[in-house]
């Protein structure tokens, strides 16, 4: 009967129910968008690191992120790393921001990634046109089809200039997005060095692959001892460092989290206000229940059930709208991401928000004098 009464109380006043649901829905959509952007941004920031097949990353000291490593490492560090027990391979990677001159004039900034896919540490993925062999051909690069407009190109065969040299689009990736909004452009290691004017033994990172059974911590410790001017990070550490740099040092992540908190606050206030007014309207009924001998707990359950029902209905509507927005955003440079974990967390958040909203109503009910049933 608790659920029945809660349901009827809710649906008795449909306008108030609509206001409650809009409050929850607004809150869910806002939080889903903010956290979806946060997740989407996180994925973009860490996609290269996550895709790499490496146990450890050697970076120049103080490298802030994947895009900001500098081209400072030399073959000396590579040879020292290769001589370390437990190390199977040390694969160089060149990554740097570079100017992209569009074929029709104007320029933009790209992140040039120089890698040798044969080394098995990092290679372009989601290739929808062309192959790695095409990227290896003279002057070839791969571009991402999401950024055609920014790059001023239309597809395979277009030419442009990166920093110091002419390049030709020979392969296309699909939806490899960049948080910095500077598109990723893949090419071979040597061509990247050449375009950027770097020496042939220079690298931004060395991706370390270990012998089977090697102890990661022990190898890392040994590498740190040998490589005094460089840092040796695990994949997780480098991923976290990149996230910190782009999401927190730039304030972008705080803005997203702030937006999500605002959504929660607004939703809680709206739901609390409508629940309170609903409880006030049904105060005589709650007093009657109390006179009939119901415990306080029984009445709290009715109010919490009202809050819970509002939460469930509001969540379903909110998540449907959020999924719609997610779908629309899938081809934009900043796609939103929804994971089962986030959907579950949003549901938990909605229930929590509704339960908190019920507090004011519960306080009101706690003060009910059952004697009021005789005064009507």
């Amino acid at each position: 009967m608790i659920l029945t009464l809660a349901f009827r109380n809710l649906f008795h006043d449909r306008i108030r129910l609509a206001v409650t649901l809009v409050g929850i829905l607004f809150s869910i959509v806002l939080v889903a968008i903010q956290l979806g952007m946060y997740l989407g941004s996180s994925q973009m920031i860490t996609s290269m690191i996550e895709r790499s097949k490496s146990d450890l990353w050697i970076t120049a000291f103080g490298a802030k992120s994947f895009e900001e490593g500098g081209i400072l490492l030399t073959s000396r560090e590579r040879h020292q790393a290769l001589a370390t027990p437990g190390v199977k391979a040390v694969v160089p990677l060149v990554v740097a921001f570079a100017e992209w001159r569009k074929p029709e004039g104007g320029s933009t900034r790209v992140v040039l990634v120089g890698t040798d896919a044969e080394d098995g540490a990092l290679e372009p993925w989601s290739l929808v046109a062309g192959t790695w062999q095409d990227i290896k051909s003279p002057d070839a690069i791969s571009a991402d089809d999401t950024y055609f407009r920014e790059l001023g190109i239309n597809g395979i065969g277009d030419t442009a200039q990166i920093a110091m040299g002419r390049v030709k689009v020979k392969a296309l990736t699909h939806r490899i997005r960049s948080f910095t909004q500077s598109p990723y452009v893949f090419t071979t290691l040597s061509r990247a060095r050449s375009l950027l004017g770097a020496d042939s033994d220079k690298a931004t990172f060395y991706l370390v692959q270990l012998e089977p059974g090697a102890n990661v911590e022990a190898v890392r410790h040994e590498l740190r001892t040998r490589l005094e001017g460089a840092e040796v990070l695990t994949k997780d550490e480098f991923r976290d460092r990149s996230l910190r740099q782009w999401l927190f040092r730039t304030g972008a992540g705080l803005a997203l989290i702030g937006g999500a908190l605002l959504g929660i606050l607004v939703g809680t206030v709206i739901v609390a206000q409508t629940l309170y007014s609903s409880t006030k309207d049904h105060l005589n009924e709650f007093a009657t229940l109390r006179a009939l001998g119901s415990s306080s707990g029984y009445i709290y359950k009715v109010i919490l059930a009202q809050a819970g029902l509002s939460a469930v209905i509001g969540y379903i509507l909110g998540i449907l709208i959020s999924l719609g927005i997610l779908y629309i955003s899938r081809n934009t440079p900043l796609p939103l991401v929804m994971t089962p974990g986030l959907a579950g967390a949003l549901f938990g958040l909605t229930l929590f928000m509704s339960a908190v909203s019920a507090i004011s109503a519960i306080i009101k009910v706690t003060r009910i004098d059952p004697a009021m049933v005789f005064n009507r």
Binding site: L5, R8, N284, L289, A291, G293, S295, P370, F374, R376
Partner: protein, 249 residues
């Protein structure tokens, strides 16, 4: 001598604070026994509703003793008082106090739900008591679709559903026309007699006198008179109602 199911001994109740403090009850003694319909009559402001609230464990007395089925009320907190009400007391209110969003059947079921009786058995019991009060054909109706008399009969069914030993009614006929008023009083008298419960009804209504076994008069916070009336169940309306019930059945 019959043991009282509900008893007030020298009950005093002060309301308000400071200069506004008034003594609503000034030492009331009253004992209710099973099988009787007692009317509590008195002018407005005489303390009828205050006494009803204290007997119903909704208010606690300033001093004096209240016992429900031999259990003393003094010192109990709000939850313990609610438990006493759940176990022993059924209420009928002047304005029915039905839940407008619940059907007649659900209004009775919720009283059972409160005491922990749930599910199919509770639904059967709710239906049974609604049939007892002559509303077997109105189970699914909402209060807004019931007449005042029918609503008060739902309230009576709700009050007796959990089989309390005491039923307390606050002005049960005040909002009803003559015919419905008689019907409800007949029902209360029958509940007292046939179900062996103690029924106390606070009333101003002289039409109700014919149904009472006992009439207690209160004035200015004191019991000023008491009379026993032998007619009880023989009142003509009760006989009519019994006949109607049999005809319905």
């Amino acid at each position: 001598m019959t043991t009282p199911v509900l008893e007030a001994v020298n009950v005093v109740k002060e309301l308000g604070k400071g200069a506004g403090k008034v003594q609503a009850l000034k030492g009331v003694n009253l004992a209710l026994v099973k099988g009787e319909l007692t009317l509590l009559m008195g002018p407005s402001g005489s303390g009828k509703t205050t006494l009803l609230s204290i007997l119903g464990c909704i208010l606690t007395p300033t001093s004096g003793i209240v016992r429900v089925e031999g259990e003393e009320v003094a010192g109990k907190n709000a939850e313990e008082l609610a438990e006493l009400r759940r176990k022993h007391i059924g209420f009928i209110f002047q304005s029915y106090n039905l839940f407008p969003t619940l059907s007649a059947l659900e209004n009775v079921r919720i009283a059972l739900d409160v005491i922990g009786r749930k599910g199919y058995q509770a639904a059967l019991r709710a239906e049974e008591v609604l049939r007892e009060v002559g509303l077997g054909n109105r189970l699914k109706n909402y209060p807004s679709n019931l007449s005042g008399g029918e609503q008060q009969r739902v309230a009576v069914a709700r009050a007796i559903a959990a089989s309390p030993s005491v039923v307390l009614a606050d002005e049960p006929t005040a909002a009803l026309d003559s015919e419905n008023g008689h019907a409800v009083m007949a029902l209360l008298a029958r509940i007292a007699k046939e179900q062996n419960r103690s029924v106390l009804a606070v009333t101003h209504d002289p039409r109700t006198l014919g149904y009472a076994d006992r009439v207690v008069r209160i004035e200015d916070g004191l019991i000023v008179g008491e009379e026993r009336r032998p007619q009880g169940l023989d009142a003509p309306e009760i006989t009519d109602l019994t006949k109607r019930r049999k005809a319905n059945a």
